[in-house]
């Protein structure tokens, strides 16, 4: 029997889709939001895919049949995951803030060195400089 129901599966799938779509943006703030949503998604997944739903796993003064009690282990794991996600969210926010302070935006720009290597002409110039120094076999230069 599935421990997960269709509604939950859809919610989780939806959160993953939206969350990852946001993670794929360049603005770090959007990425933070995406990360938070994904955190919700994974925690839900952990909870609902992990165990049977039921009464809270707190005996509450009564002796319940264990069958009707929710699985406590995924709850404990999700609890840990929530906390971790929270800490990292704060850190990401700080990163966004720092980026904004240093560059005036919080976008994840492309890597400069990669771009440099990717641009043949620039590379050729740098390469020829490297050639002179390092032995003539530096790549890419049109000799």
């Amino acid at each position: 029997m599935n421990t997960i129901d269709v509604t939950m599966a859809l919610v989780i799938g939806g959160l993953f889709a939206v969350g990852f779509f946001l993670m794929l943006q360049r603005s770090l703030m959007r990425i933070v939001l995406g990360f938070i949503l994904l955190g919700h998604g994974t925690n839900l997944l952990l909870l609902v895919a992990g165990g049977t739903p039921g009464r809270p796993p707190v005996p509450d003064g009564r002796i319940d049949d264990p069958a009707g009690t929710a699985d406590p282990l995924p709850q404990a794991m999700a609890l840990t995951a929530i906390v971790i996600t929270f800490g990292l969210t704060a850190f990401l926010m700080a990163l966004a803030y720092r980026s904004w302070r240093m560059t005036g935006h919080d976008e994840v720009r492309d890597d400069v060195e990669d771009r440099r290597i990717g641009t043949v002409r620039e590379r050729a110039e740098a390469g020829s400089a490297a050639d002179r120094e390092t032995g003539g076999t530096a790549p890419g230069g049109e000799r």
Binding site: M8, L47, L95, G118, T137
Partner: protein, 951 residues
């Protein structure tokens, strides 16, 4: 034998320390080690030549087949003498030659000699490879020298890459050979040679390595280039010793592999081609070293041919030629070194008349050259006789031996020609120019040349000794059809003698007619081939890297997600496990919550306001918390609510200092579609995966076991018991994350060190005129009066004054009640944190300081310390870490108090969380309004950019 290697290593390492004191004497000291080797080998020679052998073994990594097996047999002995003998002479010669970096060069030369010694003694294929590569490295270092000149670096690198490439191929061959033979011991492989297809492959691979090392065509290009090295290095490494390593390997393995399919054709084809073409090339060289280098390649071709041919006579000839070549070629190189050193040039066109200026040198050089040309009674002649014999009367295994003999004759004739060209070019002509200025070399400078040249004569005249040495190796083969060939200066008038004479005559003719030789380079330009290969590799590298490493994070993530979707997704789709029969929902409330969650989440995508984004995300969080409640997880819901509020607070506090809207990025529709597709695919995958996985469950969850253990854990709330007791290690990790995240957040936000500056709220428009109206008259919060009136509110301050203690009591309740109901240290800590947030928000930084008079980091640190200490404490009592005990106390008045010691762990968590909140507040905690002007500017800029169109 091990002590020999140790001696080489030790002296090589010690030389840089000795050199400043020893000065030029360092060379003499260095040469002692190879001299000792020669002597040592001499003492062992009798038994070895008698068919005996010496073995030593040192275990290294036997399970990998790596055992330092050393063995002294006739071939090793021969090589050892060559290596150590020439080595000693070269080192002595260096005393006069080397001007600078003496310590480095002496150490390297000695290290090289040691490596060669190890190489020829190795009886394990891997040990052989080890020393093989060590010689390569030494060669690289010696060629590169200081590497100040471009061509030095280039030549060194070329030599390194080519020989290492060959070596790697060879390594694979050796592994294959050893694996097939079932042993990596060379003597064992020779004793019981393996057969089969794998062995053929191994033979080819090994030969490629040997060819690269011995500069066989077409892998020879590095050797001429390596002539930039100092001449003693050329003499030793690139004539006498290192390049012989490949030849040695061929000689070593030929008894076992000569009959394996492609061995003999390969050896003969490559060896003879190399011999002829390189000799031809030598005729055109004007640089004496280059001439010798091509000559060396040619001779190596001959040696490969002879030693790889796999017949007794050929092997005998090869062994003799090996000795001969070592003697004459190093003598010639050293001679060129003297010329270069004294005349300042080694160009044939500039040297003239040196012979008259330096007659002794001329004489000994001529003697060496004569040996190279194969003029009796020198050892070169002995060898030539033997190899003509081997091919002319070779057994059936030397297929097409007549044609091969013709090639040999041509090659030998060309050798005669370039020998003549060398002598003529170096010493001939009337004295002029450089030669006239040249200073005569000291006797000690010429002595090594003389000794080597004399050795050629001695080995020729004393052919019996030479024969004994060579035959001891060659006897590994069965004698040919005409019985064992004996070395001799005179076999009578035989066709072989005729061929010898023919080579001399032809060689002389070629030399005389050298001016009318065609200028075509029959040899392919290996240099260009190497350069092109390197350039191609670089181009490939550039192309691949340019197309993979594009530097764009979103693209990386798309690739990543696509991989995650495609790889497991394909397996899932292919296996198509059942989806099960899931319920539409667990509780009818779920669909409503689902609508809230999904709508809010979707709305996050659309918004361009940061604050709106976080508010909508908060709604998602509340919805998820609702789901937690519905599914019977109040602990989760509680934590989720608290975290949601705290996240909102932290984000908003940071947002305070950032622009209101997202940076206006323009993304192409196509890109957006790709992103949406990737993200959507992950969503679909997760949905299906979750359904499939939960449908597949057969075994009951292990968590049913917890309920029975609650008594032992001293708790009622299973989730809390798991968190602080059963799986407290998770929690310890979790708080470590929190700790480090908080610490990192603080360090990130306190950038530039101007975090404390306080600007009274007010940008262009200033605060609202009503802002200061609700400033309270009385002090309700100790620190609040330090804030400007415009930021105060009587309602908030009074309410905070009333609520703050209540919230703290609530937090303590949650801390202590966690064992019995929803709560625990984390939730409690967050509640207390909220109380502090409230104080900060309403009373400002000063009031937060008044509330908590301990630095935030101290609270965090003590929380962490307490939790970890509670975990460690049971160790002192002989328990296990993180163990919890139920303690029952009977204090007066109260009666019985029962609690689990894991409560203290929870207290640590509580403290840590409070500390973390404090850290976050202190990080973002600058008075409201700080940086607002900056934020505004940034936003204005962004707006301008937006209006200005895409960047």
């Amino acid at each position: 034998m091990l002590f020999l290697l140790a001696a080489y290593a030790a002296v090589a390492v010690a030389i840089p320390w000795w050199q400043p004191r020893l000065g030029r004497a360092v060379w003499a000291v260095a040469s002692l080690v190879p001299l000792a080797t020669v002597a040592w080998a001499g003492t062992r020679a009798a038994r070895v030549l008698d068919g005996g052998e010496y073995r030593e073994t040192l275990a290294w990594a036997p399970s990998l087949g790596l055992t330092v097996d050393l063995r002294l047999d006739p071939l090793s002995l021969l090589m050892l003498w060559v290596v150590a003998g020439v080595g000693a002479l070269v080192l002595l010669y260096c005393r006069y030659y080397v001007e600078r970096d003496a310590a480095r060069q002496a150490a390297l030369l000695l290290a090289f000699a040691g490596a060669m010694t190890g190489l020829v003694l190795a009886d394990n294929v891997f040990v052989l490879y080890v020393f093989w590569e060590l010689t390569t490295v030494a060669s690289f270092l010696l060629i590169a020298g200081r590497g100040e000149e471009e061509n030095e670096r280039r030549a060194a690198r070329q030599a390194l890459l080519v020989t290492v490439a060959g070596g790697l191929v060879m390594l694979l061959g050796l592994v294959l050979l050893g694996w097939t033979a079932g042993t990596y011991r060379i003597s064992a492989i020779l004793a019981d040679p393996p057969r089969g297809g794998a062995v053929s492959a191994a033979a080819v691979l090994v030969l490629i390595g040997a060819f690269a090392k011995s500069a066989q065509m077409p892998l020879h290009g590095w050797l001429p280039a390596a002539m930039v090295a100092p001449t003693p290095v050329s003499a030793y490494l690139h004539a006498a010793a290192m390049v012989k390593a490949g030849v040695y390997l061929v000689a070593r393995l030929a008894p076992a592999l000569a009959e394996v399919a492609p061995w003999r054709p390969m050896v003969l084809a490559v060896g003879l081609t190399t011999m002829v073409l390189a000799a031809w090339r030598a005729l055109r060289a004007t640089d004496l070293k280059l001439l010798l280098a091509y000559g060396t390649i040619s001779e190596l071709g001959l040696l490969v041919t002879l030693l790889g041919a796999g017949t007794r006579t050929a092997a005998l000839a090869g062994a003799v030629m090996l000795l001969a070549h070592a003697a004459f070629k190093s003598a010639l190189f050293l001679s060129v070194g003297i010329l270069d050193h004294r005349a300042g040039t080694r160009d044939i066109r500039e040297l003239s008349g040196v012979g008259r200026r330096m007659p002794v040198l001329f004489a000994v050089t001529a003697l060496a050259a004569a040996s190279m040309a194969g003029i009796p009674p020198l050892v070169g002649y002995l060898g030539k006789e033997a190899y003509f014999e081997a091919f002319l009367y070779g057994d059936a295994r030397l297929d097409g031996h007549r044609q091969l003999t013709v090639v040999l004759v041509i090659g030998s004739a060309l050798t005669v020609a370039y020998a003549a060209r060398f002598v003529q070019g170096a010493f001939g002509g009337p004295p002029e120019g450089a030669a006239r200025r040249a200073e005569r070399p000291e006797a000690g400078f010429v002595a090594p040349v003389a000794v080597l040249a004399g050795a050629g004569l001695a080995l020729g005249v004393g052919y019996a000794g030479t024969a004994a040495l060579a035959a001891a190796y060659a006897d590994a083969y069965p004698p040919g059809p005409h019985g064992p060939y004996e070395l001799s200066l005179w076999h009578g008038f035989t066709p072989v003698l005729g061929l010898s004479a023919l080579t001399l005559a032809l060689g002389g003719l070629v030399h005389l007619g050298r001016r009318s030789l065609p200028v075509t380079a029959l040899l392919p330009d290996a240099q260009r081939a190497f350069d092109r290969t390197i350039a191609a590799a670089d181009r490939l590298a550039l192309t691949v890297t340019r197309h993979t490493q594009v530097g764009s994070l979103p693209l990386y993530l798309v690739v990543l997600l696509t991989t995650v979707v495609v790889v497991p997704g394909a397996a899932l789709a292919a296996g198509a496990p059942p989806l099960g029969s899931p319920l539409p929902w667990w509780s009818p409330v779920e669909p409503f919550l689902a609508v809230v969650v999904l709508t809010a989440a979707a709305a996050v995508v659309g918004t361009r306001h940061r604050l709106t984004g976080i508010l909508l995300t908060g709604a998602v969080g509340y919805g998820v918390a609702g789901m937690f409640l519905v599914r019977g997880a109040p602990d989760l819901a509680l934590t989720q609510f608290l975290v949601e509020t705290m996240t909102l607070v932290v984000v908003v506090l940071v947002l305070r200092r950032m622009p209101a809207r997202f940076s206006p990025g323009r993304t192409m529709t196509r890109v957006r579609l790709v992103r949406a597709a990737a993200a959507g695919a992950v969503g679909v995958l997760v949905t299906c995966f979750a359904l499939v996985a939960s449908a597949a469950r057969t075994a009951p969850a292990i968590s049913s076991g917890y309920a029975h253990r609650m008594e032992e854990a001293g708790a009622e709330n299973i989730v809390n018991a798991i968190v602080v007791d059963f799986r407290a290690l998770d929690t310890l990790g979790e708080i470590s994350v929190l700790l480090v995240a908080a610490v990192g957040t603080v360090s990130l936000i306190r950038v530039g060190g101007r975090g404390d500056a306080r600007t009274p709220g007010g940008g262009p428009g200033g605060p609202s005129p009503t802002a200061h109206w609700d400033e309270p008259v009385r002090t309700w919060l100790p620190g609040a009066p330090e804030r400007p009136g415009g930021e105060r509110s009587v309602l908030l301050e009074v309410a905070t004054r009333l609520l703050f203690p209540s919230i703290l009591v609530l937090s303590l309740f949650l801390l202590f009640s966690g064992h019995y109901g929803p709560g625990g240290g984390f939730a409690g800590g967050l509640v207390a944190g909220q109380a502090l947030v409230l104080r900060y928000l309403v009373g400002g930084r000063a009031d937060l300081g008044a509330a908590v008079r301990v630095p935030a980091s101290v609270v965090t640190g003590s929380g962490m310390l307490l939790a970890a200490a509670v975990g460690t404490f049971p160790l002192l009592l002989g328990g296990v870490p993180l163990e919890s005990t139920v303690v029952t106390l009977h204090p007066p008045v109260v009666g019985t108090v029962k609690f689990a010691t894991s409560l203290f762990f929870d207290v640590g968590v509580y403290l840590l969380v409070v500390g973390v909140v404090l850290e976050l507040l202190s990080a973002v905690g600058v008075s409201l309004g700080q940086d607002m002007a900056e934020a505004d500017e940034a936003e204005a800029t962004a707006e301008d950019e937006e209006q200005g169109g895409p960047r």
